[in-house]
Symmetry: C2
Subunit: 331 residues, 2 copies
DNA sequence: AACGGCTGGGTAATCCATTACCCGCCCGCT
DNA sequence: AGCGGGCGGGTAATGGATTACCCAGCCGTT
């Protein structure tokens, strides 16, 4: 692998000139630039990233640590982050924490060690700590979930309100015993969706009971079990608020196994507008979250903070949108 | 941010000893190890990755360049790669090439610049070149699609055979005018699926006509249009082989819009066993690909090659599995 | 003509962890 | 006692790009 000095030798200039010519940071004789370019080309010169990053004390890379690569909500965020970051020459590396605090921590360490310019993180739980990042002064933005007790830029969806509206919608449709299947306690979005659900029941003077609430991991399997349990009760729910699309898969499966068609007997509203939501019968009523936009906003905030880490922290709250389809209509 | 010399000063030893104590590469007095550890701890020392990588001439990172982060097939591969890589202390960075040769190239450059230990790539098309990687001697494995004209380790699914079997299954079910919606020309999996489809028609002495074949990008929108066109023909197909799950969404939508229920009137088999395949009515017959396994196999091959780049290249072909459900039955 | 200012480009310091090389000490053997 | 071998640990070279600093030359001004 060619180094900068080989390029310099071939072009008959100093390494400093090569660097300046290739990075365009300073004025260099156009003739020399050409000679340097040609030499670099011929040698297949690729600057040594570690050397550059060592010198610059920072890599033009942002790390995006998400809790589940297989969740379309997060991959849509990733796409948003990428689109913005690439525009300004940053690379994005995607790290999958698997809702696992230990893996998350490990990735934070890696990000720190590699001296990335910034980190965007969806905190896996209440124990998440980005203290290490802030201590070192690494730019940081939280997405989807705020960071417990810390101040940082954060991009959220007003998920509590969305859950409230979704639940109110179910009530309006005449459902009476509405249940909720949400994510693990301590995961902020899961807590918020539950809280919004309770808000709605309360404001409509419906009794809220833990018998109609289940919490499991944000996956199909857990939601499947939860739905089974709820449906097998003496007094089963006549509607369910489901906290994400993977869970919706589990819930719809359970309904199928019980021979229950969504809508008429059991109303369903699920978070996240999956591409298949319109394909099931009846089509699934969903709370669509602006995932891509979360990504773009977060990336822009991060870039701003990379530029100036003293700027005041902000909280951006985006609205979710209820998309009514057949699964929440008795008709 | 603390450096190794600060740790050394604090522990009262040389930097060499700090490095040896923390990396455990050489025997160090246990007392000193303890002192060093404590000093590092107290200073919150994080080794400087770029410096380390510069010295070692390689980062303990593998890059995984996939063509679509939002495609569950690829995210499942990612998970497989991660699980294996993490076991041996490698980090995985995920890069999204978007089926875009230019982005792909750019990520290859980044991987090269950052001196990653290895690259796993799903080549976006016929123009993909990993020459740069092989020239520098970076370990490399291709997944899902072989690399045109180059020899490298590659992990594939026998997708042509799978397409043939899926088509044969449709024929066995009594469908007569079977169509095919596949990915862009030049994308190997798309070509292979089409070839397998034709193999089956031929071996059963059915005429194959381009009127029943459409090629579009591997996305819902393209497949939707393609299905519309096919269905609006004078002699529409009575069955469709669809080349991935995103496309299946588009196709099923089109059927809905035509008021056609899959199965009875138009049989459907789609590649990729999406979580929602059992939820649609009738449930979708699919060709399940062992995506996770592709990831684990590829990662193991890559690690072997990182260890010894002179080993002969191998081709691993995994079998796909047809899962018969309602959408391919006339009954 | 002399001098100040500006510009282009070279020299060498710098970033920090790893490791080749070397030294001193201790142990055991003859 | 003397010597060889082995081990722990220090010194300094190393990796490669960037950039502070400096110098030479050219222009314009007085």
């Amino acid at each position: 692998m060619a180094t900068i000095s080989e390029v310099a030798a071939k072009a008959g200039v100093s390494t400093a000139t090569v660097s300046r010519a290739l990075n365009g940071k300073s004025t260099v004789d156009p003739d020399l630039v050409l000679r340097v370019r040609r030499a670099a080309e011929e040698l297949g010169y690729q600057p040594n990233g570690p050397a550059r990053n060592l010198r610059r004390q920072e890599a033009a890379v942002v790390a995006l640590i998400i809790s589940d690569v297989e969740n379309p909500f997060f991959t849509a965020i990733a796409r948003g982050v990428e689109d913005v970051a690439h525009e300004v020459g940053y690379s994005v590396v995607l790290c999958n924490s698997d809702e696992n605090a230990e893996k998350e921590n490990r990735y934070i360490d890696v990000a720190l060690q590699e001296r990335v310019a910034g980190v965007i993180l969806s905190p896996s739980g209440p124990t998440t700590s980005v203290e290490k990042l802030t201590k070192r002064g690494t730019a940081f933005v939280a997405v989807d979930r705020p960071l417990p007790g810390q101040s940082s830029d954060v991009v959220l969806v007003d998920t509590r309100l969305a859950a409230r509206e979704a639940t109110a919608h179910l009530i309006d449709q005449g459902y009476q015993r509405i249940g909720c299947i949400t994510g693990p306690a301590g995961v902020r979005t899961a807590d918020d969706r539950l809280a919004g659900y309770r808000d709605a029941l309360k404001s409509r003077r419906l009794r809220s009971t833990t018998k109609l609430v289940r919490r499991t991991e944000y996956k199909a399997a857990g939601a499947h079990r939860a739905a089974q349990e709820l449906l097998d009760q003496a007094e089963p729910p006549d509607a369910l608020l489901v906290a994400n699309s993977a869970m919706a898969v589990g819930v719809l499966q359970a309904l199928q196994e019980h021979g229950i068609r969504p809508g008429k007997q059991v109303g369903i509203v699920a978070f996240d507008d999956a591409p298949w939501a319109e394909l099931v019968d009846p089509p699934l009523t969903v709370v669509a979250q602006p995932a891509y936009e979360i990504g773009t906003v977060a990336a822009r905030l991060l870039l701003a903070r990379i530029g100036d880490n003293t700027r005041p922290t902000t909280t951006t709250t985006l609205a979710a949108r209820l998309i009514e389809r057949g699964s929440s209509h008795r008709g």
